[in-house]
Structure formats: structure tokens, C-alpha cells
């Protein structure tokens, strides 16, 4: 790209209407970024026009909308010339053509068992807890108060919480459970001895054994967590919540199983393709990336749909993204995340919210952003908030 023609640009529109400029704003890369940085340095008088041009182009990008992926996939099946084997359409973003000659069931399958066994550690009510805790089998409790806590468990038996290390008895023949409790308003990232990363959201508890069994790895979850499981085909990873048990073979997924919610939701974000033993059989449901599995506690029904995964996993990166979400639920999530009281006026249920919220901001700022975009007003009273119709 040459700077010459841009030197003559006088107005903001000149930049906006140039195709290369637009292309850079929408698809930036290092090369183009440095071109524009040096251009701005050499022509400081054009700087604010360029920044306004960027702002306007970015403001003109519509919010993500949901697409009925299953319906679209069905249409493709109907459209395809007959006689050919139907190749499964993974997701619209995938650029590789479906010459990956695998059966539908291969990929990152999650086997779901509706859980009848009573083996489940007793939960502690999260609302009663103010500090984060780790409880060892021998009863030792370590508390921590950081907003964001990093916990690492090593194979040698050491457990570190932020920068402190405590030794856990690793020489026992029997394995015992370590329980991590995260109160509302705080979050934690846990690394297990096998390299699996787990991000625990506010108001959640995770129990894991000091030593995994020889043929499987099991953890117990209440609340919400994002899992990035280290693949190990010989030792499948199980996430057990009160109602469902999930078997994973090296994937990234988000599970939301709060006691007070009516449903348990699991969203699969990414899965490793493993050839061989993946087959669907009775009593289990398979999942592919981009799908959400919902377990309804009131009738024990399991249902599956396709979702925009960012809406479910963005909290790990510090954002909440919503798409036509009833505004009450937006506030429920914010309440949990910040651990501050938010009351909602009657009749506000009809309003829905779409947008992206930065969880790094304080709650006041976040609520102001929500108010800016919807027709509501925010009133503050000693750290608790009231949402009113405009």
C-alpha cells in the first residue's frame, strides 16, 4: 500500500470511503497496523480524521445475530445432488471443505450420562462464603481474598495459591478430594497436575482428587466453569455435577450448573479430532463444537441446540456478550460476578439487551453502559443498585 494517495486526503470521509482503509479497519494485521502508525506519525494533522474514520467504520458493524445452523444444515442436505454420501457441515466458520472423511460421530464427543449415583460431595452454600477457600482432605483450610486467584496443583503434590505453596500428602494409597470454593464476586483459574486448565466463575465450587484414578480423571462441579482439558485418550476426563456427568476426550467447553438455576448447560467450544473408538450408542448424546446441551431439572429432559459460543465462554476473557438476552438475566449474571445487589423494577422483563460488557470495569460503569443502550435508569444506594424503567 502506498502512502502517496492518502497524503492528499483532506477529510474523514476520504478515508472512510477508501476500500483499502476499510479493509484495514475490518481486518487488521501487523503490516497494515505499522503502515498506518507511521503514516499518522508523519502526518499528525490527519490523525484525528483517521481516528474518527476508524470509529465510524467500527460503529457500523452490526451486532452478532443468531443463525439457525441446524436448519441451514438441513437445507444443504436437501439441496445436494442425490446419490452422494451426505457430508456433515461442521460450522459456518470452518474454511476447510468437508473432505475430512469422517463419520458424524467422530470429533470431540461428549458422552452424557444422566447421573443416578449419589456419589457427590456435599456442597457448601456459596452465598454464605465471603472468602475463597481451599479445603484439604485432612481438614486444613486455606483462605484467599484475591479477586482473581491462580491455583496450581503439581504431580509432586505441591499446591500453590497465587504465590504461596502448600504441600499436600501425595504418598497416600488412597486419593482424597481437594475442594476449591469461590464466592460471588471472585474468580479463579486452576491448573491440575495433568495440565488441564479450569476457570471457575463466581459462586462456584470444584472438587478434585489428590491423585487421579488409573483409568479416569474425575472432578466435581457446582456453579460455572470453563474447561480446557488436556487430551489423554487412556484416561478420559469426567466432569460430574449434581445432575449430569460429562465425559470428555480433550476439549474446551463451558459448563453452567448453579444450584438455583433451572437448567444445566454445557457448551462445546473446540474439540480435537480423534479417530477410532468414537461411536454413538444408546444412553448417550454426542456433541460437536458450537452445540449446547441443556438439561432441564424440572423434567429431566435433555435438549441440544446450536449457539454462538462466544456468548457462553467470553466471561473467561473478561467479557460478557449478550444477544437479545432478557435484561433480567443480564443483571443476574452481573450480580453473581460482582457480588453486589441489583434489584429490578417490575415490568422491566420485556426489555432485551444485546452487546458486550467489559468485566474489568466497575459495576457502576457496566450498568451505565447497559442503561445507555436500553431504556432503563440506574440508581445507586450504598453499593446496591436499582434498575428502573425510563
Amino acid at each position: 500500500m502506498e502512502a502517496e494517495k492518502f497524503i492528499n486526503y483532506q477529510t474523514t470521509e476520504d478515508f472512510i470511503l477508501n476500500k483499502e482503509f476499510t479493509s484495514w479497519v475490518l481486518h487488521p494485521n501487523k503490516e497494515l497496523d505499522s503502515f498506518w502508525e507511521s503514516f499518522i506519525n508523519e502526518h499528525p494533522e490527519k490523525e484525528f480524521k483517521i481516528r474518527d474514520a476508524v470509529l465510524i467504520i467500527k460503529s457500523l458493524q452490526p451486532i452478532l445475530q443468531e443463525v439457525p445452523q441446524q436448519k441451514l444444515d438441513l437445507i444443504l442436505k436437501k439441496v445436494k445432488p442425490s446419490g452422494k454420501k451426505v457430508k456433515f457441515n461442521w460450522n459456518a466458520g470452518l474454511k476447510y471443505a468437508a473432505t475430512i472423511a469422517i463419520l458424524i460421530s467422530v470429533g470431540s464427543l461428549i458422552y452424557l450420562y444422566v447421573h443416578t449415583k449419589k456419589q457427590y460431595p456435599i456442597e457448601v452454600a456459596s452465598e454464605m462464603i465471603l472468602k475463597g477457600k481451599i479445603i484439604l482432605a485432612n481438614g486444613t483450610t486455606k483462605e484467599f481474598d484475591t479477586k482473581q486467584t491462580t491455583i496450581t496443583q503439581t504431580t509432586s503434590g505441591n499446591l500453590s495459591i497465587n504465590s504461596d505453596t502448600i504441600k499436600v500428602d501425595s504418598d497416600q494409597a488412597t486419593s482424597t478430594l481437594i475442594r476449591v470454593i469461590i464466592p460471588y464476586g471472585k474468580r479463579s483459574e486452576i491448573t491440575l497436575a495433568d495440565g488441564t486448565h479450569i476457570w471457575l466463575n463466581s459462586g462456584s465450587q470444584l472438587s478434585y482428587p489428590t491423585k487421579f484414578k488409573s483409568d479416569s480423571r474425575e472432578v466435581f462441579l457446582t456453579g460455572e466453569a470453563f474447561f480446557d482439558v488436556k487430551a489423554n485418550p487412556e484416561k478420559p476426563f469426567y466432569v460430574i455435577t449434581r445432575d449430569i456427568k460429562i465425559k470428555i476426550l480433550g476439549t474446551r467447553f463451558n459448563v453452567s450448573s448453579y444450584a438455583e438455576d433451572n437448567t444445566v448447560q454445557t457448551v462445546l467450544i473446540k474439540g480435537k479430532v480423534t479417530a477410532g473408538k468414537n461411536k454413538l450408542f444408546a444412553g448417550t448424546i454426542g456433541m460437536v463444537p458450537g452445540e449446547r446441551l441443556t438439561f432441564d431439572k424440572s423434567n429431566s429432559n435433555l435438549s441440544k441446540d446450536k449457539v454462538e459460543v462466544q456468548l457462553y465462554s467470553s466471561w473467561v476473557n473478561g467479557y460478557l456478550i449478550f444477544q437479545n438476552m432478557p435484561i433480567k438475566e443480564v443483571f443476574t449474571k452481573l450480580k453473581r460476578f460482582y457480588n453486589q445487589e441489583i434489584s429490578v423494577e417490575e415490568g422491566i422483563d420485556k426489555i432485551s439487551f444485546s452487546g458486550k460488557l467489559n468485566l474489568g470495569d466497575n459495576l457502576k460503569e457496566v450498568l451505565e453502559n447497559v442503561a445507555f443502550a436500553s431504556s432503563v435508569n440506574v440508581k445507586e444506594n450504598n453499593g446496591s443498585y436499582l434498575i428502573l424503567k425510563k
Binding site: 474518527d52 465510524i56 441451514l72
Partner: protein
């Protein structure tokens, strides 16, 4: 536009040629990339998903049936959007004939833009953004459609002209006028305000 097909970098032109020749991997790729965009575009013309889905199915059925006889293209999205819009509008007009409704509007393009919250965070002068947001909301449906095609789907003026059934000159003017109104709202006619964004991107 270039994409990967069977791990080879291919241009729209090549993928289209392959599709015409009978390659179903090319069909899958085209469908995977564009069915979603057609759907989202269709929803901006009507809330009726069923008609949108039917039109998508019709377009692709025809494409597959007549594949060998199709023309060539450098821009598959443009080719599809053009046929899709025509088909969809025709269907909507048919529906209208059987529905006796008082509101006799044209099928106008409707899209909601909401300035991203992280942009709002970085900008100190919120009131200017509110005025920009207002100006965006006040764009006419034609302006919104042309802007969507130019700044989200990145089509050329001549392609936009075909899809919107106007001359190239007119499509360029339509977009220029719209952009100018947004710029005026953002910059106002008071003295220059410098905006500090942390990073350009």
C-alpha cells in the same frame, strides 16, 4: 476473496469454476461460507424466517441443478446476494398479495447498529458518540442497506448498484451522503476535539 479448499489457497473464481464442474467440496464450502450471510441479510428485509430459509433453499437448488450452465464470477458473495435478494423480494411480494394488511410499505432494509461498549469506554466524549448513534439510527433504509453492503460485506460500488437496482453513480452518492451525515454528527461544527483512542485497532 481467497479461502482454503482441500488445503489449497483458492480464489472465488477458482472455487466457482470447480463448483460448476461438479465438485461438491466446493459446494459445501460455498454453502458453509455464505448461507449464513444470506440468512442474516434476508432477516433485514423480513422477520419471516420461513420465507428466508425457503429462498436460500431455492437459490441453492437452482444453482446445483443448473451448475454447468452458470456464468463466471470473481465474487461469489455478490453473485449469491444478487439472486437471493431478487428471489426473496419476489416471494415477499407474492405473500403480500394474499395478505390484506393496511400497511403497504415496501420491503425496507432494517438493521440495528449499537456502538460497541468498549468503544464507549475508550471515548471520553460520550455526548459526541450519542450524537453519532442518533445519526446512525436516522439513516434511511436505503442508506443502511448500502452501508451494510459496503462496510460489512465489503462489496464494490458496481456490485452494490446491481443488488440495489440503481446506477453506480447513484450508489456512490448514496453512501457518500450517508457517511458525511455521520461525520458531521461526530465532529459537529464546533472547534476541533481530539479523541484519544488507546490503540487505533
Amino acid at each position: 476473496m481467497v479461502t482454503f479448499l482441500n488445503e489449497q489457497l483458492m480464489s472465488d473464481r477458482d472455487i466457482w469454476v470447480r463448483f460448476k464442474a461438479g465438485d461438491n467440496d466446493a459446494l459445501n464450502l460455498i454453502y458453509a461460507d455464505y448461507s449464513k450471510k444470506l440468512y442474516l441479510f434476508g432477516l433485514k428485509l423480513t422477520p419471516n424466517h420461513n420465507i428466508v430459509e425457503d429462498s436460500i433453499q431455492d437459490i441453492f437448488t437452482d444453482l446445483v441443478r443448473n451448475r454447468r450452465k452458470l456464468g463466471d464470477t470473481d465474487n461469489i458473495l455478490f453473485y449469491l446476494l444478487k439472486s437471493f435478494k431478487r428471489r426473496l423480494v419476489r416471494q415477499l411480494q407474492k405473500e403480500k398479495r394474499y395478505n390484506l394488511k393496511e400497511n403497504d410499505e415496501e420491503f425496507v432494509f432494517d438493521i440495528i447498529y449499537s456502538i460497541e461498549h468498549d468503544i464507549i469506554q475508550k471515548e471520553k466524549a460520550n455526548f459526541k458518540l450519542q450524537s453519532l448513534q442518533q445519526a446512525i439510527n436516522q439513516l434511511t433504509p436505503r442508506q443502511k442497506e448500502s452501508i451494510y453492503l459496503r462496510f460489512t460485506e465489503e462489496l464494490e460500488y458496481k456490485e452494490i448498484a446491481v443488488i440495489m437496482e440503481m446506477s453506480v453513480e447513484a450508489s456512490r452518492n448514496l453512501i457518500c451522503k450517508a457517511i458525511k451525515s455521520l461525520k458531521d454528527a461526530l465532529q459537529g461544527d464546533t472547534s476541533i476535539l481530539l479523541f484519544f483512542l488507546q490503540k487505533v485497532v
